[in-house]
């Protein structure tokens, strides 16, 4: 098990980590998600031993590894940049970690071949990195990281340099390998779809802090903070007013409030609604007009501008979106409960 305990890291005036607390269970894949500069890569580099915390500590199986050098940690890492050694062929690259561990040459080459088979690249064993495509290079990098039989696998945006099709394919392969090998993995990414699709749990970070750590579905459906709600997926902030019975009146519909907290009835609030939680209802006398229509294949994304000037994003299956650009329309909320945030003058959209 891995544990970050109050880990802090400062770079000059910039706070990269402001007291990170996180536990990763054995065999679990956690994705750290957040915008650039939120501290997710710093957390990964500290776990890998490439950086040291200013305060706090990192424990692996209850052993404090905070000041242990990276070559003693037994952690495999796949980098964002192509990191294969250009002077070595693919097989030698994969066997490098074993060579550093003074394994017999025949054994390490055999193990390298097994790992290349595992990632489906047996035929490239004698090639050099410059003879491989980006996707192949990252697969070799995965094989190389796995060769040392690491306690933890660290993935630092390993798919960001690849094109969309390969990215989708490779992330499924990484997940499949991780699950079958049962290897504890920390995956850092700024791509929410990548994080949500690959992880057991997603940690959303902002300004060096974890805003929420939960399953992908919980993070998406029940965001803990407005930042998480707006960072993970698109979100509408629709004005409404709190009712007496823990409900809210939004777009002429009454919805249950999930986080009434200490807000008083009658308070002006914003209800946070996902685009797929709203549907258009074609109506020539409706309160809104379709001002943008983007075809996304199986779904259509619509921007409906209400007569009040507020813009609402709607995403629904293509066959159900029977409206064209410029049509008048009504809106129907498909969910029964919402998160609200208190409306303050500065939070007006």
């Amino acid at each position: 098990m891995i544990r970050f305990e109050g880990v802090q890291r400062q770079f000059g005036q910039v706070t990269a980590l402001a007291g990170l607390d996180l536990e990763i269970e054995k065999g679990e894949l956690i994705a750290l998600l957040g915008p650039s500069g939120c501290g997710k890569t710093t957390a990964l580099r500290i776990l890998g031993g490439f950086d040291r915390p200013d305060a706090g500590r990192v424990l692996v199986n209850d052993v404090d590894v905070s000041s242990m050098p990276p070559n003693k940690r037994d952690m495999g890492m796949v980098f964002q940049a192509y990191s294969l050694f250009p002077n070595m062929d693919v097989r030698t690259n994969v066997a490098f970690g074993l060579r550093m561990r003074r394994r017999e040459k025949a054994k390490r080459l055999k193990q390298a071949d097994e790992l290349l088979e595992l990632v489906g690249l047996t035929q490239t064993a004698d090639r050099y990195p410059y003879q491989l495509s980006g996707g192949q290079q990252q697969r070799v990098a995965i094989a190389r990281a796995l060769a040392i039989e690491p306690t933890v696998l660290l993935l630092d945006e390993p798919l960001s340099a690849l094109d969309a099709r390969v990215r989708t394919q490779l992330r499924a392969e990484i997940r499949s390998l991780q699950q079958r090998l049962g290897i504890t993995t920390l995956f850092v990414t700024h791509d929410q779809s990548e994080a949500l699709s690959i992880a057991d749990r997603v940690g959303v970070m902002q300004n060096g802090r974890l805003e929420q750590v939960d399953t992908p579905e919980a993070v998406y459906r029940h965001p803990a903070t407005p930042f998480v709600a707006e960072f993970v997926g698109a979100m509408n902030r629709v004005s409404g007013r709190l009712g007496d019975a823990g409900d809210v009146q939004v777009l002429s519909q009454r919805l249950k409030v999930l986080n009434p907290n200490s807000m008083e009835s009658g308070a002006a609030v914003y209800a946070l609604l996902r685009p797929e939680g709203v549907a258009v209802v074609p109506d020539p006398a409706g309160p809104g007009e379709v001002t943008q229509r983007t075809f996304l294949g199986s779904t259509v994304r619509l921007e409906v501008t209400l007569d009040t000037g507020q813009k609402i994003l709607v995403e629904q299956p293509t066959q159900d979106a029977g409206v064209a650009l410029g049509d008048r329309t009504g809106l129907r909320i498909l969910v029964e409960s919402v998160i609200v945030e208190e409306m303050v003058p500065s939070s007006a959209p």
Partner: protein, 292 residues
């Protein structure tokens, strides 16, 4: 960890990112006449004087042509010993320079990038300070230093000159190595190597050095060329190195031998250059038949 039947389906030809370099064959292009003309003129400019010098070096004391002057050089124990001394100094200096400078360059690039400008300034000092000043300083050191240090350093030209040639070579070697290190993704390669269990020494030997091989060879070549040509410090400190012997021979009046020595020096230097080109070429040809 057992990998068992776990795996990615073979045959999925994952592509993406930069495409592998395409197979290309050397395209034969017929050279244009004006290019040939420029080449011939340049060749005459360089080869003409060399050929004349070579012809002159073949004139023996009795007026006939032959390799007598070269024979005299080979049989001259003073020149032979000077050449051996210079080669020893060159080899040791070249190795020392790389051993000292490569880790320094890597460390500055990785950990102290703010010191890059200062490093560039400091390594230029041997050019700014004339060798005569260095030699004067050395003479001062010789006369005022403790006897054990004088004996340790100045009893043999190798121990006396090597440290100072290392300093003189800094401006060339630092830049050659720095350019080489800049050309690779140093941070990622070092992190990857360390992550896989390599110590700093193993990282430099197995990962960095092979990937900056051309720059290292270039730095060594420049150092050797400098050691084989440096006369000011060696003369002032009264050491009999190869370039000093060359000058002494030319002053002694046996012009044929002096020119023959120059030809030998040039041939040696060219030999080194070709060796460098060969090794650098091999660097880009990882194994036969795989070059694409």
């Amino acid at each position: 960890m057992s990998f068992g039947s776990v795996g990615i389906v073979p045959g999925d030809d994952v592509v993406g990112g930069p495409e592998p370099q395409p197979v290309t064959k050397g395209r034969k292009e017929r050279p244009r006449p004006w290019r040939i003309a420029i080449f011939v003129l340049a060749a005459l400019y360089f080869v003409g004087p060399l050929a004349s010098a070579f012809k002159f070096s073949l004139i023996q004391s009795n007026g006939s042509y032959g390799f007598g002057n070269y024979g005299q050089i080979i049989n001259n124990s003073a020149i032979r010993s000077a050449l051996i001394t210079s080669l020893e100094i060159s080899a040791i200096t070249a190795v020392l320079v790389v051993v000292l400078m490569l880790p320094t360059v890597v460390w500055v690039r990785l950990r102290l990038p703010k010191l890059t400008l200062m490093m560039e300034g400091v390594t230029l000092l041997p050019i700014v300070i004339p060798p005569v000043v260095l030699a004067a300083g050395l003479e001062e050191l010789q006369s005022h230093a403790p006897e054990w240090l004088v004996k340790l350093l100045f009893n043999h030209p190798v121990t006396a000159l090597t440290p100072f040639y290392v300093i003189l070579a800094l401006p060339f070697t630092y830049r050659a190595l720095d350019n080489g290190v800049r050309s690779i993704d140093l941070h990622t390669l070092v992190d990857a190597s360390r992550n896989l269990g390599a110590s700093w020494r193993q990282t430099i030997v197995h990962v960095i050095l092979p990937n900056v091989e051309t720059a290292v060879l270039g730095a060594m070549f420049l150092t050797i060329a400098l050691c084989l040509g440096e006369v000011v410090i060696a003369t002032l400190l009264l050491y009999h190195t190869f370039p000093v012997a060359l000058i002494q021979e030319s002053l002694s009046g046996t012009a044929g031998i002096s020119v023959a020595l120059s030809i030998i020096t040039l041939a040696f230097t060219f030999g080194l250059l070709f060796a460098l080109s060969f090794l650098a070429g091999r660097r880009h040809r990882p194994s036969s038949g795989r070059m694409i």
